[in-house]
Amino acid sequence: MKLLTRLAVGAYLLLFFGFLLGPLIIMAITAFNSSTFPRVLPWECLTFEWFGRLANDSRVLEGLQLTAIIGVFVVLLSLLLGLAGALLLTQIFPRARATYYTIVTSPILMPGIVIGIATVLFWDRIAHFLGLGRDSVFYHGIFLTVLGQSSFIASYCMLVFIARLQRFDEGQIEAALDLGATHVQAFRRILLPFLRPAIFSAAVIAFLASFENYNTSVFTLGHFSTFTVVIAQKVRLGLDPSISALAVIIITATLFLALLNEAYSTHAERHPGNPLRSLFRGGVSGFFASNPAAILAVLMLAGIFATVIYATRYDPAACKAEVLRKKLEIQQRYARPPTPQAQPRQNPPPSGAPGRSDGFGGVFNPQNLQNAPEAPAPTPAPAPAPPQKPRDDGFGGVFNPQNLQTAPSPAQ
């Protein structure tokens, strides 16, 4: 390849992956910056306090719990439906196959909100038909969300099962029957063990899809809040780096699991048949030999431990005091009375955070300065709360959904 082409390709790749990974890296960095609005520049102090705040955030934790519960139900339901759907597809008579396939994969292409709305409306009708009221199960957020999500997640599972089933030798079932097994026995002893890898993949896919679902859940949850809904609310109402901290945790966990997965598959490739057994037999060294993913995974784990230990010992108080002092200097230089802006989220500093109480009522909080070198934090955000933001749509912003949120509470 010519040098110019090479350069062009290289530049493209760099830009592309910069675009792809950049935001994540930046977001990760902001989690460690002590500034209350997530930012990278200017860098104030290294701190781990946001992780602490996150751990104490009951809404996030409750959201996680609900997400997990819903996830489990969705996985179970989707696996069942997906498997049944796949089995039927392999056996249905050819003329109906195309139509059947279109119907069961259609939920994947449907906009999430349409599925959510349709689910809510349908069960509302059912409840009516049965003469039940708003407190019946047909209006319950968990019930509706599980059903709404499963309608398309089952399609994903079905696709996984279809792929696996195509490699199945139907003769084995016949052999089992021929040897005296009942259909259920043949299914349990022959087909299910064969499907095990697919069941696992489908379960993982289903859980992840349920975990990160937003569009459908937002309509079906009612007054419940899953993890994604909680985060969405936080992002719209109160931006602070605890969200970045959350992102860092998720990214790290995902990377680690990905490394584990890669390490396991490399290992499984080299020990076909029963990789788990050979893992225990071959011992630790056998596992790591020329398995870079495994080594990286362990390094990562070590790194995480080290960081955590460091974090518990580290106290940014001194650094923060220094930063504060510098800002006071700048402020005095401009000799303008600091006007406390209506920045409800950034001020006053939440009482629970360590080292933040500066006793001045937040007056010297850098974000409160109008002419600080960095622009006041909330402006760039699609400011949901500050009502003085001019509205272009001619209705005085009445119809903007963000404006209808309740007053943002600072301590999220």
């Binding site: 249905i92 119907i103 939920p107 259909h183 937002v218 969200i243 970045s244 622009a375 912003g397 959904p401």
Partner: protein, 309 residues
């Protein structure tokens, strides 16, 4: 009759218990979770928004009122048409098309590179690098863009620092953040189908074309793209439908002038609590999106069956 003997074969093959379980499960899925809910939504969209005690009564008849509202607004609307909703709807569609095109242009090269050029380890690493961002929640991804494009975000910060601009650009207002965020969200969904399609292209065809002296752009235009058309259509369909139906990104990254149609549906449901109208709008969204996609497929001459994942 074929169905009768098919049923017989089906039960012979699966036994009574399993056979019934399979049929029941699939029927329940199709009816209770796919077909009937859509019918319910249609039904709602053609009904008046009545309080509970009036439902089932004499006022509960079918009507086009909700669709009329979408077009003409409330009764006695001086403007004649419901410009607010119509404009938002139009803007959403246009924006979705825009995002689709951006993604196509952005992702085609990488898909081609991965499928035909990259080798072995490099390919795997690139693939992983491509997939990793998608394990992060879409909300967090939108959040990341919010940070970057903010007035004190890194983009503005570096631009100011480099002296290119004096005061921060309000990317949000210019909808740049939203487009970037949406394009970002669906990169993987555009790359994957195109990658699949191009991967099955015989490398020799490209070689042959190059041998005949074709410049790179012609090779793509005449050899690669026609071959990858199903993949491209697949990717564009998915991205368009997802972009038009996106809710989180507009909520988080949208500025005051970029209200998304999905947001209108959202508030119709939860704030105006007008389920019938919300249902009608949802139906409009679904139908128009589907028609649009079918139309595009007809124009670019791709059959439905070719769009396989």
């Amino acid at each position: 009759m074929p169905t009768k003997s098919w049923l017989g074969t089906f039960y012979t093959r699966n036994g009574l218990i399993l056979g019934n379980c399979i049929i029941l499960a699939v029927l329940a899925w199709i009816l209770l979770m796919i077909v009937l809910p859509q019918i319910a939504m249609l039904d709602f969209s053609f009904s008046y928004d009545l309080p509970v005690y009036k439902q089932g009564g004499p006022e509960d008849v079918y009507t086009l009122a909700n669709y009329r509202y979408f077009l003409f607004g409330y009764a006695g609307n001086r403007d004649g048409y419901n410009y607010l909703d119509l404009v938002v709807f139009g803007r959403t569609l246009v924006a979705a098309v825009f995002v689709t095109i951006i993604d196509l242009v952005l992702c085609y090269p990488i898909a081609f590179y991965l499928a035909q050029v990259a080798r072995g380890r490099m390919a795997r690493i690139l693939a992983v690098a491509l997939i990793v961002p998608y394990w992060i929640n879409e909300i967090l991804r939108a959040f990341a863009f919010r940070i970057i494009f903010g007035a004190s975000g890194i983009i503005n910060g570096s631009l100011i620092g480099l002296g290119i601009i004096d005061s921060p650009i309000d990317f949000v207002r210019e909808n740049v953040a939203l487009y970037a965020g949406l394009a970002y969200a669906y990169v993987l969904l555009m790359v994957f189908p195109i990658y699949n399609a191009i991967e099955s292209l015989d490398r020799n065809q490209i070689e042959a074309a190059r041998d005949m002296g074709a410049p790179w752009w012609r090779i793509h235009w005449r050899v690669v793209i026609p071959f990858a058309k199903p993949g491209i259509t697949s990717g564009c369909t998915i991205v368009f439908m997802l972009a038009a139906g996106a809710l989180a990104a507009p909520q988080i990254l949208g500025g005051p002038s970029s209200l998304w149609f999905t947001q209108i549906i959202y508030r119709t449901f939860f704030e105006s609590v007008n389920w019938s109208r919300g249902a009608a709008y949802a139906v409009i969204l679904l139908v128009v999106c589907t028609l649009f996609v079918l139309l595009m497929m007809r124009i670019f001459k791709v059959k439905l069956g070719e769009i396989g994942r």
